[in-house]
Subunit: 419 residues, 2 copies
């Protein structure tokens, strides 16, 4: 079961003016389950995205990038709809996969009477198999027919693959007398579910945010949320993160970082993205522990992230966490080899750093802290939420990484997963 992931409450998921959602059961992989989602986006919205760096990126990712370029080049006036299917990732599918992704867009374009390039397609599920186009295309009219603004919870259920629980979050930002709403959904979790690939995240707000500014902050927010999580270190072929600003709240107009409300809206978007990213880790395959790894005092954010991921990805650290074992040796060793992924760490002075489990100083001066009592470390490890903090004392940059433990169930699920 997910680690401390609260159940979603549909009543608390605020509709976003300018966004309507509709789903269908199109039997792509399983009967009788929602597997196709259409998100309609009002005219005048800004839409930004960041995508997987995997060289084997899926056909829909390629199409998404092309259509966002078409918007940028004013070939179309903006993105008007997203179409998301589960059950099949349309990855590793060659030319046919590109045709299938385009055909999906064309079908929705005709029904909604919008340009093909104004649609972004997403797929998640088994890879190396072709989309069952007849089923998918048959589902699209049904999804369009039930478009309403209050389906965020159902949307969260629709995009799930092997996720145990749906992931959704709403918050608001106060700008003067105006309330800006933000709602988002996500699904896990990269290559956790490798044949059911893909981390997907969608955020929408009714604030009016200029396209170029939204592009910037989408990348920043991804780097502080979805790019700070690790379950098993694998990077999926389909990972996508989309932020939509509909501008339907016409009184909150943000063109620059200095504009009123920027900080409040930025922080609310970040809060939503971080909740959704952490939700993916909490629902990590076989996870029994949620790890928050904070690295302070680095020369650069890259350094801080490299150490955080070195700890958060280490199978030895993760198995120790599963066993509630306050094994500082494994954490210190993972810090020590982080230079493999960040050259500037080659002169890291291990004598200078401090390591904490929760509030407990466990290591300093290159070894175990003199004050450390193992019972104190054990008490931290016994909890489901474990904080690990590294203070490097070599600069002013910090980063936080979220990860989970490595359990028998991880091996079981990934060794037996094959349908």
């Amino acid at each position: 079961m997910p680690v401390n992931l609260p159940e979603i409450n549909p009543a608390l998921l605020a509709p976003i003016q300018g966004i309507r959602l509709g789903w269908a059961e199109s039997n792509i992989k399983y009967p009788n389950r929602k597997d196709l989602l259409v998100i309609e986006i009002a005219n005048g919205s800004s839409v930004s995205g960041v995508f997987t760096q995997n060289r084997f990126c899926a056909a829909p990712v390629t199409i998404c990038k092309e259509h966002l370029v078409a918007v940028k080049n004013n070939h179309v006036s903006g993105i008007k709809a997203l179409v998301i299917n589960t059950g099949n990732a349309n990855a590793g599918t060659g030319e046919q996969g590109m045709l299938d992704a385009l055909t999906t867009c064309q079908s929705l374009a005709e029904i909604m009477a919008i340009p093909v390039e104004s649609i972004l397609p997403f797929s998640t599920g088994v890879i190396l198999e072709h989309l069952p186009m007849n089923k998918l295309l048959a589902g699209i009219p049904h999804a369009v027919a039930n478009l309403t603004s209050d389906k965020w919870a159902e949307a969260a259920w629709t995009i799930m693959t092997t996720d145990v629980a749906p992931k959704a979050y709403s918050t608001s930002a106060q700008v003067g007398n105006e309330q800006v709403n933000i709602t988002g959904i996500s699904k896990g979790a990269g290559m956790i579910h490798p044949n059911m690939a893909t981390m997907l995240g969608y955020l929408a707000t009714d604030a009016n945010i200029a396209q170029s500014l939204l592009d910037e902050i989408t990348k920043e927010i991804a780097d502080l949320s979805f790019n700070c999580i690790s379950v098993d270190g694998d990077t999926s072929t389909n990972d996508s993160f989309i932020v939509i600003a509909t501008g339907k709240n016409n009184t909150v107009i943000i063109n620059e970082r200095n504009d009123e409300g920027f900080n409040a809206v930025y922080n609310a978007l970040l809060e939503t993205a971080q909740f959704l990213a952490k939700a993916i880790v909490r629902d990590g395959e076989g996870a029994t522990k949620f790890l928050t790894i904070t690295v302070k005092g680095a020369l650069s954010i890259d350094e801080a992230k490299a150490i955080g991921f070195s700890i958060g990805k280490s199978p030895l650290v993760k198995t120790a966490m599963f066993a509630s074992d306050p094994n500082l040796g494994r954490v210190l060793a993972a810090i020590g080899y982080a230079s493999r992924e960040c050259e500037s760490l080659e002169d890291l002075d291990t004598e200078q750093l401090e390591l904490y489990f929760g509030e407990v100083l466990v290591a300093e001066k290159g070894g175990r802290a003199a004050s450390y009592q193992e019972e104190e470390g054990q008490a931290v490890m016994n909890e489901a939420e474990i904080d690990i903090t590294v203070q490097l004392h070599r600069g002013n940059e910090d980063a936080t990484i979220w990860s989970c433990d490595f359990s028998y169930d991880y091996v079981k699920i990934n060794a037996e997963y094959r349908t």
Copy 2:
């Protein structure tokens, strides 16, 4: 049990002229087991070493590097002895750890009447605990007292920590009418056994190899053997690899790569190092499969190694191998994100590459090969030895990586390991 690791046969381990070995049972961690090894090296030998890149390197690694510099600067005439203890890694032990490593050298130096700087110390075992110096120092005279040339098998047993089986190998090179002998031992396996840290490897030959040439080839051989293996991706604090050329076979003198016998001796050293490196993987924690991952047609060896390790370290690939699952999607995804560790792969054209399981072409043109029948891939996966080959078609460089699968026992051993 180790995967296809033949039992060592003491009668087949050739003594090396100029090398004597002696052991003691000094109760460092357990009673009644060999845990201290002294290797005596004849005057006039060349000795080279490569060591862990982990910033938390252990005290003995620091001392080894200093003493090799002392030889280079002619403060001492050469390395005359190695002293290796198991049961305690003397890592993460601060200043006291440095003193303990030096005191160990001093004790041996007095007994053998040689300079302190002519001794290289090695430790492997639990980290973050101080060496039990009384026990260790009491053992040294016993190890020196039983120095003989025929103890390579016993030496392989002595340096084991949680290894299931000892690792040793002998071969020879024919140079004109002369036979050059090479014998080596190793123990596993990096951070597989994190509190019993360390990969150690020792090779000796009776050939006469100039110091500067031996330094070069030691690094090359490490890069083609011990630096090509992965069990869990962690890098230990104590990893060390030492090559000794005693020169007692005076008729084979190699000062340059053009000298007669260079290729034969180099290849025999490489064969020995690769056997010992692969033996560590075969004895990997919980291993049931031995993976040979060959990447061909890369622009650089770095590219080939990055892809090999990306596949060989992926928990998803490794759990699939454990399940004998011909899961090409996970392997393709791991190829696709190898650019994270090698920038030049950012323009990798996935349409151009071919993936083989054994002799079976499983993927090409960005997806599953049209000719591929899953039964054929399944037959490859059912074996204990699995070959994976990637042909990139973008350059002329190749590399081979050895890895193992990821089983329930890996989690069990690493979650329960704590003594």
